[in-house]
């Protein structure tokens, strides 16, 4: 017993190092292997508060640009509205408006990152504003990501610029679907993989969200096809998609809640059994 104590006391620095280093390592492995980063995330009062203070000063510098984006979006929505009044039978194309089952919340981006291999965005809405895990996040130009963790007043968003993110997407002019992934290289491009080789892929075509996910409504813009190549096996296309959003500069975002999500998930579970 005495010897054990002596050993511990003699090597206390090394043992403490080993202990702390393995905690760090375990957290790292945990954050890489699971979809959710459970323990360490910036959706908490401390980091949220600090980022909030910075943001309250910072956002004045972007006001002009924010205004332009809003005016642009207003113009688009007005166009849609006036065109639909003229012919009342035409359904509004944008599903976020026509279908009542999506609830929309706006939020400010407190922290954005795009240089790491798994990027997270911190926003200023949380459980108190009924924002929960797996809600979709978009801007007027296109999709941003999915809500990952929430605290009372803050939430983190798993950006589409993440190796863990996989979002169902399709070609706008046909119904061929694929998965949206990111190779970790530049924040301008994402990759659409597993697209059937029968799909009519053309450079410049638009990619939108597919209807298969219960998170995003169908038909939200993602980006344009920049280039494409066939897979090694030759059965599928891998498409380089240039995002409509500038992921390095996001000010205000919309959070989408699909009210039917639970029902869809329950149905899918029962059919799987």
């Amino acid at each position: 017993m005495q010897q054990i104590f002596n050993f511990v006391i003699r090597n206390k620095t090394f043992l403490l190092f080993l202990f702390l280093f393995s905690i760090g390592l375990a957290l790292t492995i945990q954050s890489h292997s699971y979809h959710r980063s459970k323990f360490i995330n910036s959706a908490n009062a401390l980091s949220g508060g600090v980022y909030g203070t910075v943001n309250s000063i910072d956002k004045y510098f972007d006001l002009e640009k924010e205004n332009e984006i809003l005016a642009e979006e207003n113009k688009r929505l007005k166009e849609q509205l006036f065109n639909s009044v003229n012919s009342e039978n035409n359904a509004v194309i944008d599903t976020t408006i026509s279908r009542e089952n999506y609830r929309i919340t706006t939020a400010d981006v407190y922290k954005n990152s795009y240089s790491s291999t798994n990027n997270f965005i911190t926003i200023n809405k949380g459980k108190n504003d009924s924002v929960k895990q797996d809600f979709g996040v978009v801007t007027s130009k296109g999709i941003i990501g999915i809500i990952d963790n929430t605290s009372k007043n803050y939430a983190t968003v798993l950006s589409i610029l993440s190796k863990k993110s996989r979002i169902n997407a399709k070609l706008k002019n046909s119904n061929h679907i694929g998965s949206l992934t990111w190779n970790g290289k530049t924040p301008e491009f994402v990759q659409l993989i597993d697209v059937s080789k029968f799909a009519p892929v053309k450079v410049g075509d638009t990619i939108v969200t597919g209807g298969q996910s219960s998170i995003f409504p169908q038909g939200i813009n993602i980006g344009k096809i920049e280039s494409f190549e066939t897979d090694i096996s030759g059965d599928t296309y891998t498409i380089q998609v240039k995002l409509f959003n500038d992921m390095t500069n996001i000010g205000t975002i919309y959070i989408l809640e699909n009210r039917d999500r639970n029902e869809i998930l329950k149905l899918q579970n029962t059919s799987n059994e």
């Binding site: 206390k12 620095t13 090394f14 403490l16 190092f17 702390l20 280093f21 905690i23 760090g24 390592l25 375990a26 957290l27 790292t28 492995i29 945990q30 954050s31 890489h32 980063s37 360490i40 995330n41 910036s42 908490n44 401390l46 980091s47 600090v50 980022y51 910075v54 922290k111 990152s113 795009y114 240089s115 790491s116 291999t117 798994n118 997270f120 911190t122 983190t156 970790g184 530049t186 924040p187 390095t248």
Partner: protein
């Protein structure tokens, strides 16, 4: 004793805030960020208990992780740097370290640069290996390590020289 404690606490908080508010959002050329919070580990008083250094380094790294949503990569890298610090001190300062009489504010610039360079390279290599966490992307890890290290080393040395107390 109290002044050492005060100075280090202030340094801890200031470096943490500067890191998460400014330095992690520079993204020079898309991905190059300096990680200047390791100055705290470099300048931690040598005579103090190493256990305290390990624990505070871990806390500092963990807080940076919380702010940057990066899992535990900064915590692991900082603890490693804190543990390996005596080796770097010995190689760069030699005899001065043996006599426990280093004052960072009035050491030779050459030794200081060697010390900071060795430490930064080690810290960044571990940091980016854990962050990318993929052996097949070794080139990406090395690229990130090299460019961020250059940025960090220059900033660290400038900050240490600017804020050193002995103004002659």
């Amino acid at each position: 004793m109290n002044s050492i404690l005060g100075a280090n606490s202030v340094r801890f908080i200031v470096l943490l805030l500067v890191q998460v508010i400014i330095c992690s959002h520079i993204n020079f050329l898309g991905y190059i960020n300096p990680y200047i919070y390791i100055i705290f580990i470099f300048l931690f008083p040598i005579r103090e208990d190493r256990l305290i250094l390990l624990i505070t380094s871990f806390l500092l790294g963990m807080l940076v992780d919380v702010f940057l949503d990066s899992g535990g990569v900064h915590a692991a890298a900082s603890v490693f740097l804190a543990y390996a610090r005596p080796v770097f001190l010995k190689t760069s300062f030699g005899m001065l370290y043996e006599h426990q009489s280093i004052k960072f504010s009035n050491t030779e610039l050459g030794s200081l640069i060697t010390y900071i360079t060795l430490g930064t390279l080690t810290h960044h290599l571990i940091l980016f290996s854990l962050e990318v966490f993929n052996i097949s992307s070794t080139l990406l890890i090395l690229k990130k390590t090299l460019f961020s290290s250059i940025f960090t080393i220059i900033l660290c040395i400038l900050i240490i020289i600017l804020f050193s107390r002995n103004k002659k």
